[in-house]
């Protein structure tokens, strides 16, 4: 799941709008939109939906099974530094993906 800020930003950029443009479309303050996009403040879900729709998109809200294995896979790699992640990938590549 993306954060509300990244969803708003993605929708706005994909619509080719500036924060000011989106503010004009929705009657929201440009600075407030910037704070939402930076995830400094989380807007209510209804506000996210309104902003996304103002960009010409919709949000799908459905309940899906939570896949715990995704986090497990990532948690093995996350403690490594980017340098070690690169080394690990190259080693796996040389070993045929093991």
């Amino acid at each position: 799941m993306s954060s509300s800020g990244s969803l708003i930003r993605e929708a706005r950029l994909r619509a080719g709008l500036s924060q000011g443009d989106l503010g004009q479309r929705t009657g929201k303050d440009r600075a407030q939109i910037a704070r939402w996009e930076r995830d400094e403040v989380s807007p209510p879900y209804e506000t996210v939906l309104m902003l996304v729709r103002a960009c010409g998109f919709d949000l799908s809200s459905e309940l899906l099974p939570y896949d715990e294995s995704l986090s497990e896979r990532i948690r093995d790699v996350l403690p490594l530094s980017p340098q070690d992640r690169l080394k690990r990938m190259l080693q796996r590549r040389a070993g045929g993906g093991a």
Binding site: E10, L70, S71, R73, I74, L86, M89
Partner: protein, 169 residues
């Protein structure tokens, strides 16, 4: 080379040359995902370069130094017109393939992707600019390729974990 032997891929050599030539670029694609923590395996580097003429000249010189070849063409010419004529330009080098993506899907190009990027230390003094997880997910979402659902789910979970506790269990 036997059929089982992987193609040569030395990303550090490629990135070191780009850095040495002071090329303005951001690493995107699967390798950027790997550097953030995905468990993919890739044998190429995707980059989004700044499209200014002098930067493309530096990029061309860096790739020439790496033995860069563009298809069957003998000369390697990287100019704005030819690069913008295709979404992706693949350059084979002695250190592996480099894919040049002037405007990654869902973005407005280099300046847009650079904003969220971070410089990551990768060893041998190389600190490469890498696109943010959110921007990588944005590109993948916009591309909407079948079969990318699992990779996108990993990127999104990674973004949650990077943001800290609260959502991911």
């Amino acid at each position: 080379m036997s059929a089982r032997e992987p193609r040569p891929f030395d990303p550090l050599r490629i990135l070191a040359e780009l850095e040495r030539r002071r090329v303005a670029y951001v690493v995107i694609g699967a390798l950027a995902g790997v550097l953030h923590g995905t468990d993919e395996i890739t044998d190429r580097i995707d980059i989004c370069p700044q499209m200014k003429e002098d930067n493309l000249e530096r990029l061309q010189r860096a790739l020439e130094e790496l033995g860069g070849r563009r298809g069957r063409r003998k000369d390697l010419v990287l100019d704005e017109e030819s690069l913008l004529g295709a979404p992706v330009t693949a350059i084979a080098t002695d250190a592996g393939e480099v894919q040049i993506v002037p405007q990654p899907a869902g973005t407005r190009g280099y300046a847009d992707v650079r904003r969220g990027s971070s410089r990551e230390p990768l060893g041998e003094g190389v600190r490469a600019p890498v696109a943010s997880v959110d921007d990588l997910a944005r590109m993948m979402t916009t591309l909407g390729r079948r079969g990318d659902e699992g990779r996108l789910a990993v990127l999104r979970r990674l973004a949650e974990l990077e943001r800290g506790p609260g959502i991911a269990r």
